[in-house]
């Protein structure tokens, strides 16, 4: 049972365009920075790994002490990587595709509160 989870969508240029801290545990004050650091470092591995496999869901690509990084690599520009700590990223990512606004400009930040609410609901569902 995951207690804390971080979910980040990374654009093609490795820029985080969406970030959500989800989880049932009380959030540590430094968690955002910590999670960001771990997920950012995991990009090194993801970029190596993404080209070696045809799988889209890369489960447990990296492990940082007790935190496990899983990645869902998409085939579109809009959401190249969905990286999550302790989240069933595959499920969330697949459903999240359906949430995207068709007018969304690839590469820009996702600021839609609707999207945020939905993602958090999804996370609650699968956590």
């Amino acid at each position: 049972m995951a207690t804390t989870a971080c979910f980040i969508i990374v654009s093609r240029n490795d820029i985080p365009i969406y970030e959500a801290e989800v989880g049932v545990a009380a959030k540590r004050e430094d968690a955002a920075q910590l999670h960001q650091f771990i997920l950012h470092a995991a990009l090194d591995i993801v970029q190596d790994l993404a080209w070696t496999t045809s799988a889209m869901y890369l489960k447990s690509v990296d492990r940082f002490n007790d935190l496990v990084v899983s990645v869902y690599v998409t085939a579109v520009d809009a959401l190249p990587f969905n990286i999550g700590l302790d989240v069933d990223v595959a499920v969330v990512s697949k459903e999240e595709w359906t949430l995207l606004n068709p007018l969304y400009l690839p590469g820009s930040r996702i600021t839609s509160s609707h999207f945020d609410t939905k993602v958090r609901a999804l996370a609650r569902k699968y956590l």
């Binding site: 654009s11 240029n13 490795d14 820029i15 985080p16 365009i17 004050e29 430094d30 955002a32 920075q33 910590l34 960001q36 650091f37 771990i38 950012h40 470092a41 990009l43 090194d44 591995i45 190596d48 940082f64 002490n65 007790d66 935190l67 400009l105 690839p106 590469g107 820009s108 930040r109 600021t111």
Partner: protein
Amino acid sequence: MQNTLLNQTKESLQLSPKFEVSACGVGEFSVGHNNSNNRTMKGNNGYLVTMGAPSPRSRPACTCSNRPGSVRCARHGYVVPSERMKKRVASKEILRRALTPPPPRRCEKRSEEIRFFMNDSDTTQLATTYDKLTCVGFISSIVVSMRNNTSLARKEERHIHMGGANITSSLLVFVFVVVNAAVSMANFLAQFQSIKSTSDRLVISVEDVSDLWPAVKPAFEARLPFKQGSLNNKTRNPVLVEKLPAEFILTTDSRLRSRFPQEQLLFWFREPYATIVLVTCEDLDEFKTILKPRLKLIVQNDEREWFIVFVSRAHPANDKASAMAKKVYAKLEVEFNTKKRERCCKYDIHLPESNFWEDLESKIMECIRNTLDKRVQFYEEEIRKLSEQRLMPVWNFCNFFILKESLAFMFEMAHLHDDALREYDELELCYIETVNNTGKQRDFGGADHGDDQAALLNPGNKALTQIVQDDSFREFEFRQYLFACQSKLLFKLNRLFEVASRGYSFIISFSKSLALHERILPFCMRETWVVTACLALIDAILSNYNDGLMAPDIEKRFFHLLGDLYSLARVKFMRLAYLIGYGTEIERSPVNSAALSLLSWPKPAVWPSVPADASAEVLEKEKVILQTTSRTKPFGIQRKPLPLEPTVLLREANRRRASLSAGNAFETFDGRQGITEGSGFDASTRMSPSQKVPPSSIPRTNSSPGNFDGSIDRPMRLAEIFVAAEHALKKTISSQELLKSLSSSEEFEQKYLELTKGAADNYHRSLWKRHGVVLDGEIAAVSFKHGHFDQAAKSYEKVCALYSGEGWQDLLAEVLPNLAECQKILNDQAGYLLSCVRLLSLDEGLFLNEERQAFQSELVRLAHSELKDPVPLDVSSLITFSGNPGPPLELCDRDPGTLSVTVWSGFPDDITLDSINLTLVPTSSVDEGAKALQSSTPNVLHPGRNTITLDLPPQKPGSYVLGVLTGQIGQLRFRSHSFSKIGPADTDDFMSYEKPAKPILKVLRPRALVDLDAAVSSPLLTNERQWIGILVRPINYSLKGAVLYIDTGPGLEIDDSHVIEMETYAGVSENDDNKVQKDGAQIDSLNYEKKVERLTLHNGKIEFPNWASDTPSIIWVLVRAMSDMLSRGSSSVTTRRESIVDAMRTIALNLEFGVYHNQIFERTLAVHFTYPFYVTTRVTDKCNDGTLLLQVILHSEVKATLTIYDAWLDLQHGFIHNGQTEGRPSSSLFPLVISPTSKAGILFSICLGKTNGEEDRKQQESILNIKYGISGDRTIGAHPPVMDESTKVDGARQELIFKNAITLQRPVLDPCLAVGFLPLPSDGLRVGQLVKMQWRVERLKDLDEKEVPEQNDEVLYEVKANSGNWMIAGRKRGHVSLSPKQGARIIISVLCMPLVAGYVRPPHLGLPDVDEANVSCKPAGPHLVCVLPPALSSSFCIPVNS
């Protein structure tokens, strides 16, 4: 009781050893006993029988069915050989049986010994006397069987009858034996290890029958090691071994001789792999009688791989001896060679045959190969059996280990490293499985001194005997041992990457094991072990590493693993350092925080306490803690430092102290004294900024509150914890190097740097830039601390570039202030400014507003005061801009405008920009440079959205997007090239580079904005004041404030006296027809809104009223076309020659319009003027009385109705009116109305006559006077002329006079002279041929002196000819005398030559002095003559004959 037991034991021991295998089918017993018990027991009757009466080895029994024959055992697949088959079938079973000593004897012996041991309790003797391995295996097998039987017996006792023995008691004995036997394994292992260490190469035994070895030894040993040998690996595939070391040992050597047969079997891997029998013989008889029987004796043992080397000592020169040697050798071959295998070779000691050595080596290799195969097979079989039993309770890993490692060692000796490695892998797997499953693990190990240093690369670190405890291996040592063996083989195979990858995962998994046993291990043993393990592994790998040997992608992963190893060591090292108080030396960066804060504290059973005599050290530590001031961040950033601790150390350490009951007391204390929760630097750092109190108020002494009285239960203070940990670590750590690294903060830092650099370098080499760069940042932090700001700035820049490039702002916010600080110290103003801008452009939530204001004030301060030279700076992330939403601003060509731009400011406060420039970039044309728009007035940008307007000069047609925003703040030249998103005020969104640029301005291509045209199409009246209409039609463009300049051309003047009228154009333009027709109401409204306004002309210009700005309108201007030419009539027979140009007048218009009158439209209108009539005349009839009826036909030239009121004719000289009409037609005709473009005729009756008046004489032309009126519309054309206001009389008929000149000719038949063109020669004219043109001039009348006043008889003539067609040879002009009498005639001849062929006009003879009317020409009109081409010339044709 003892005796009984022994008896039972004896009985039990007499069980056949085969029973172990057959009974190992545990499943059969345990599962099958429910339903098929009877059957099973029936099937196993054989066992019971065998058990009761062990038979001597009369015939070999299958391990399963015990029945010889050709039927294969269902389980093992082996055929139990009968006596008959035994010879032929060399199966595994035969081999096994041959190797296995006969069981009954051993059992008996063993039982005796057991009895002995039971009496004497001397277990060691038992172990050393007999074959322990087999013994143990045997016993354990029995125990297994018995246990199964026991369980069975307990459940179904009626089926089990073990000879009336008490099963339980016998079991006890067996277990006892097993335990003791297992203990003996320690000694056995020692032997095994010593054998392993002494024998490192294959042994080849030499059976020296004829004492030849000393003679041949040097030559034989010179061949070692063998090269290019081919061996079979475990899967029976041939493997080429490059270099195979081996050793020749005589069979008489003590090393081989002294061994017991059982020992030989046990350590079979060290037994000879081949036997060379060295013989010589010089006599056939000797061979037959002595040598052959002896050899037969030697080689009868089939186990050995042997071959015979016949050494010939005969000298080559001695033929006889050689021949004899050959004969003997031939005999030898016959005796010992078989069809399948040659076992003999001949060695001439004096002159070896060329292929002897190859032959020898191949034979040796063959033997080795065969032996190896056999032994591998044997070991495999044994291992397989053991591994099948591995889940049984009594199973002993030692046996398995020895067998497995023997096999591995054998492979290693044979240089089959791959196979050896595989054995070790399997061994490890089996170990992990059994250790975890059986729960037999008794001691983890690791408690010895020096165990903290990892021995994962040194297999000989500890003797195996030390590892074994009871019957199990201690995990701590054994797993390291296994890894050491594996890594040794991997190094031999040069598989460094595998060493690294296996090593890393081994360290990780082993570290977890250590964590499980942390409570029994010394304090921080785990951390120490990991550090030393990583470093040892790195050292070993790097010392074996050769650059360029690995494939690129493998190498990349290799470096990544090295980086991981360094990183792991670094983290653990930092943890150790933190525990002894060097936490202040560690940078609280994201990487360190992430690594350490997620790493739990050590969990010793008891947290170390402060030694009694350490008070001085405690004081020292406290002093250090007190002196340590947390580094103040630049800009006064109050950002909370990142944690390095998973939980507060103070609490953790005290909680784990045994003397405090699970921290209850401390919890109480904690609740009461919340402020000390994070004592030490923890406390000061973990406070949130809002709660932050001045540091002085924090009790930094870390001493406990006064309530605690220093008893043993008193919680430790932080300094005490550090000191206690230090002391404990000193006890734990045996590595001097590590101790030294932890001895002082300087040493710590050095090691820390070394590890960090190692990790960073390797990550960089593995292209993991994020890992590498982040660690560079850590190096930078150390550089910064020591004042090496230059280096620090460089590294920090890399880190910042990485984070900002990828937009990870939380991380950037940690590092960027440090970079800014470096740049500030280094006086890198540009860099510092940029860092300020970057800080400002980070997410607002990352810094407090005050902090952001501090960044801004720093920026403004620098820009306005400190900068001497302008500094360019990119502020794209901070100031963004965009055009206004909606469609782009559209401008017509050459129109200026005002552009409104939205600028987002990311500054926390208002900021004054001294100037702003904005470039416009045309989207289409590439060559066009960007156009800069300037707003030089200072603009104040408020935080968030601002709107700035810029003047837009006229641009070239095209579409423009916003380019770059530049500007100045003091000396700071900023530049922003990004576009912000239109919408919510998230100004930080500067990542939309990919967004297609939206056009902000569209300048349309030049087009007609307005049209000026003449409103009237038909001619106006010349010489009258006429309205000329100018149609002004704006084309989707406003004419507001337009000015029209009118300039008339020659012959036209504008009447200044009258105003100018302007009215809306009633007719809807063609383009708008469709549009307007759809909406009938609009038409009505247009009609109703018709406006008329009178304007005045000032200096030739008219200003448009406002209403005319959008609607088509007509300007009526009063003009008069001036013409002093009199209208001339013409004869009806001649065609009318009219020149439109004469009647044309031009009017130049210049319309200036647009917002700044920047648009100019010029047009010159042509207006057609005309006289109202065109007059033609003809004489309709010549009456006999000389009266001529002159018909005057009036063609109406205007589109207006003309009314003729009166007409009269003033005749020229020579004509007079006939009758009394005075030149007027009948007055009853008038008024005559002539419709537009119709004709009317008036008849005058005149006659030739003479008037006497002088005036009449002068008048050469007749003048037709017509008084007429006109009624027309100015919108169509000619209309009644506008009268002066003063002269205008209401209701008065406006009569105009039209005068027309008519030339009347005398009658045609009344000329004075006749000119006739005489016919040309009949042969025609030719080009180039002279021809005489002749005209005859004849006087038809007497020369009237009055009419021809000049000469009397001289007539001037002139010949006119087209000079291109004719060359005139004679005079062209001259006088000829012609008699004034009627009938006088003369012929004028002129020589001409035609120049061109064809029909040409002949020369014309004219008489200039005589009026045309007086000359009658024949032919009357122009005519043509035919000119032939020139005749062919034959003058150049010379006859051939001549």
